[in-house]
């Protein structure tokens, strides 16, 4: 980068001059470095070996280029069997110091001489040992130190191309004055043809040891490249350098100093920017910037807080949200925060004027005039927040047991049930976020049928419920013992190891089938009357629960309380309930009936929920309980009624 020895007046033509290099960093290099930092290096500041690519300049006065790009990391870290070479450029080894903060970068800058000297010493030793003769590129070692501000897409960097400054300059016995004068016209033509032929080959076989050979351009070709210039590449001066180095080493016993650092870039105001800064944000597509920024925020979690976190499991989870109200909006937003990229929302309603202040995906405009359907408005809002999300809205009514249906409505319900079945079958996680108890029945059954993770959230005034449903029932097993559950679930799913009895669903604590809970209720029981803070809390907890379960190696089979530390906070549930073998929604007999009869079964259950009680044996249970109560104590026979009160949803919530 600079002349090795300051000479008074004209430089002595026999002295070896080092060409000043000019660095080029492609956007691909920064992208690759960002990914590496975020995903692999994290907090490490260990120096990295990278590759640079340099080529001599074809024009007088234009310095040769050293480029780093996305290949820089691949070549240095792979066995590099096949690589698409950049034809006029030759691989040379570099060392990257990527620092964790701007302060660390500045400290490194202040103390840069030690790194510079270490590299100069390496070059010096390679000259003395003869290693540089076998691998000439070792003479071209470079140094790069960086601070990558991933948040702002701002990269601070500084290159060093160490050039030895021996006490006495290296000299050439005969200055070289271009290709023809050095080799004569015939040899020069041969060299030029060989060079051209190499350039035209599609691939370059690079040898890991970097030995010069027919497959890699070595210093002869470099001469051809640089032939037009009176200047000489240091490789050309190799024999002289080696001789002189040995002499100097014998005299001083240590490496000469090195001048190394690339000069700064001049700003419009004349000042010099040192070190350089690459601002990538301006040249990136805004949508790509958003993607990258979101990816960054998630990836940072793995640096220190949760190194084992598998973000991919979350990013690829297809989430189905039943209900796009206060809970649906809160859940969808938290899913976005986790990087979940596929979100489908189902709702039958339209945005009401009271919604936007509590339902975080809607604005006043959505509620104006005819009002936008909630599902579509929510999906559109998600895309406005993050263009990369695959969000879809479906205006659909979830058929509910006990809500009377006209023949026309029945046919619509059949269609809706079929759509819902397909949606649940197609998703990985289904969220139950509706505003009635009975609307959760069919989705619970569908999640159990298709073996999907179901997360249920519900609000009361100042309490709420967030729960996950258990694993699907084992076919043909009415009542499962612990042993049967173990055998059955591991047979059907390959779940690792043994597990306790499967967990229950929302309906497992009921001894009656769900019925219409919306009839004859005053307004405060028809609207969501809840402290406004509850929905964001419950929605967020529902998603955190999903995240934890998906991180657990057993997934849907993860136990409610895992003290082993497996998963990612999956053991947060403070309460645990077991599956009820006579549950009207998730028991084996109900799932089996639905699988066998489909709509025919559903239709009966919707029109007359009592049939579910007969099917599951609840009717018998109720009769026995009533008979027992009558026999034992007539005064306390109200026990069935109090169980029945659950139907009305009056006190159905469990505080978390």
């Amino acid at each position: 980068m600079q002349s090795s020895t300051p000479q008074p007046g004209r430089p002595d033509p026999s002295n070896v001059l080092f060409d000043p290099f000019q660095s080029t960093v492609t956007q691909g290099f920064w992208t690759e470095l960002s990914d590496l930092k975020l995903g692999t290096l994290r907090l490490s500041e260990e120096p990295l070996t990278i590759s640079g690519f340099w080529g001599p300049s074809n024009y007088e006065g234009v310095p040769p280029q050293l480029q780093v790009d996305n290949e820089s990391f691949r070549l240095a870290h792979s066995s590099a069997e096949v690589s698409v070479g950049i034809r006029a450029q030759h691989e040379v080894p570099g060392t990257l110091h990527n620092l964790n903060s701007i302060e660390r970068f500045r400290a490194f800058q202040a103390n840069k001489r030690s790194a510079e000297q270490a590299t100069a010493l390496q070059i010096w030793q390679d000259i003395l040992s003869g290693a540089a003769e076998a691998q000439p590129r070792l003479l071209q070692r470079f140094l790069l130190f960086t601070f990558a501000d991933l948040k702002l897409f701002r990269y601070h960097y500084w290159f060093a191309f160490p050039a030895l400054k021996p006490p006495a300059p290296f000299t050439l016995e005969q200055p070289v004055a271009g290709l023809t004068s050095a080799f004569g016209p015939q040899l020069a033509a041969k060299v030029a043809r060989a060079c051209q032929s190499w350039r035209e080959r599609a691939h370059t076989q690079l040898q890991p040891d970097g030995k010069p050979g027919t497959r890699q351009p070595a210093w002869l070709l470099l001469i051809a490249q640089d032939g037009h210039s009176a200047r000489c590449h240091p490789l050309l001066a190799w024999q002289q350098v080696k001789r002189e180095a040995a002499a100097q080493q014998a005299q001083d016993g240590c490496a000469p100093e090195a001048a190394a650092w690339e000069p700064g870039r001049r700003r419009p105001d004349g000042s010099v920017q040192q070190p350089r800064v690459a601002e990538l944000a301006a040249s990136m597509d805004p949508s790509a910037l958003a993607h990258s920024a979101v990816h960054l925020n998630l990836g940072l979690m793995r640096w220190r807080a949760a190194p084992a976190l598998d973000l991919e499991k979350l990013a690829t989870a297809k989430c189905l949200l039943l209900g796009a109200g206060t809970l649906g909006c809160a859940v969808a937003r938290t899913l976005l925060g986790w990087g979940v990229s596929s979100i489908t929302l189902v709702d039958s309603g339209r945005v009401a004027y009271s919604n936007p202040v509590r339902q975080s995906l809607f604005t006043f405009e959505d509620s104006r005039g005819g009002a936008t359907p909630k599902a579509q408005a929510a999906a559109a809002s998600l895309r406005c927040i993050y263009p990369h999300v695959e969000a879809e809205g479906r205006q659909l009514t979830v058929p509910m047991p006990g809500h009377p249906l006209t023949p026309a409505e029945l046919s619509q319900a059949e269609e809706d049930a079929a759509k819902l079945d397909a949606l649940v079958a197609d998703c990985d996680v289904v969220f139950l976020l509706m505003d009635t108890r009975e609307a959760r029945w069919l989705p619970t059954l569908l999640a159990a049928t298709h073996g999907k993770l179901a997360i249920n959230a519900a609000l009361a005034f100042d309490t709420f419920l967030v729960m996950r449903h258990g694993a699907p029932p084992v076919p043909d097993a009415g009542f499962l013992t612990s042993h049967e559950a173990r055998a059955g679930t591991s047979r059907s799913s390959g779940r690792p190891g043994s597990a306790p009895q499967r967990l229950g669903c929302y309906f497992c604590s009921d001894v009656v089938a769900p019925v219409d809970s919306t009839v004859d209720r005053p307004l405060d029981q028809m609207c969501t009357v809840a402290r406004p803070g509850l929905a964001p809390i419950a929605g967020a907890l529902a998603v955190e629960m999903m995240a934890s379960v998906l991180q657990h190696p057993a997934g849907i089979y993860a136990p409610a309380l895992d003290t082993s530390g497996a998963g990612f906070g999956a053991s947060r549930n403070p309460e645990e309930g077991q599956a009820f073998s006579q549950c009207t929604a998730c028991s084996a007999c109900v799932v089996q009936q639905y699988k066998q009869q489909g709509w025919q079964f559903l239709q009966q259950a919707l029109q007359d929920p009592k049939g579910l009680e007969d099917l599951t044996g609840l009717t018998e249970l109720q009769e026995k309980a009533a008979a027992a109560a009558e026999l034992m104590d007539l005064d306390h026979a109200g026990s069935m009624e109090s169980a029945g009160a659950l139907e009305e949803g009056g006190d159905e919530w469990t505080a978390l």
Copy 2:
């Protein structure tokens, strides 16, 4: 509303015919009913006495009107000393049955004869007793039953104007054929002038007992009104009616039947809508609809869940949010949910690409190009959600202790500190939602100085902190005993009763002054690396805490744990910390210094936070602790360092 007796062929002109009434309900009536229902009646279905206003029609074939409007409730429920009367209309008593659900409405409809008969009996008895003679309007009793669907602005209603159907029709001995023929030309002219003169008076003095008099139009004036018609108002037939009623009562011993209900409205398809439905949404300004809908949702909380809740205290609380990031957005949204109408957001940053997926007031568009300042973007978003909110954004940097400032920055900091002081002085609640510890110092001091409620929230990876700061310190009291605190705070604030030692602030647990915590930190400590669900949870809890404290009768002086049940969940805080008399942010000596020296004091504290340790005596405390540690056990002298580690924010959060 209909003829009392069906007559074959032409009606006998001597029979009394009842005019069919036509109801008119103004929008004001529904608005008034909605407010009454929401705020006062809530779940009550008790019949209400209301007033209707009727006037005879001036045109043949057009039935007379009975109107209910916003005055209907006022007249019936006040002593009605002065009211602006509607000139051609006369007040008559009605009974309103407002039912809680459409099912209750339909049940009432199915069973309407009992209400109808009860009213007919009242009229009959008023005739027999002579009460109707003293108060002729008692003959005009009407009945209205309604179901107000406040959510959809849909009002189902049905009027009854009971007309007695005696076994034999009431008869007139001499049919009346208009004003002149009834009274003769001179008397008719007098009556017409009296009527005109009454109409021209600006106010009508209504007498609570409704006795006829010069100030209230009685039946004579009604005749004048109806004079052009051959028909006769029942009042005119009074003497005959009374006679005939007495005779019938003597004969049958019970009231005659009544035909009562107003016919339905004909739909475009020819069918009759029965009962009638008023759809107000279409005729209302969308922004007014939004206001009303939001008001409804909040008001419903008082029906059952929290009857003592004072929503006005929340609606009028001026909230200042310092920080418009993940927490700021979550807090602002929950405040909207509570009906808080004044929200000011302060932030110095612009919307970054990574923000929208976690910061619920921003979209991708806000982060594009130059990026919108966060404070302004957040305020604009709040207005898009709810046009009635007074939201303001201020792009402002909160001056922070230990962050080195150039002379130019110092002058900016002085300006910013003055703006912040004014904002805190002007608000009721200040939320501390920034991303560094030291940014909370000045706002904590300002809240203590101005005696404002300060709510503090902060996130770590999977824990968070939500706390409120205690009441302001008592001036000139360095260290407060419980007794002094009691005496002092009640003297300075009029707080009711005695209170425990005041609660601490965020800095009360520190023994060192806050310093710059952002220097030399890798990216994962510069960004908010937190489970995405935490911010909505912490933000919502911060607002719920505010709501609870504002509801508590002691407000900012409310104890952390109130087992008396006062307030509204104010006792949720699971941990309690007392104020530290040497706190660098909220102690009396720091507040006093700031009050006396203003910017001069702040400048010193910002540039050299150690000065705060000298002022509060922390330096002395540290020296003593160090000396003691040295004396006692040299190996354990690291205790000061571990306290110092708090400065770096590494482990500063308390899990809730």
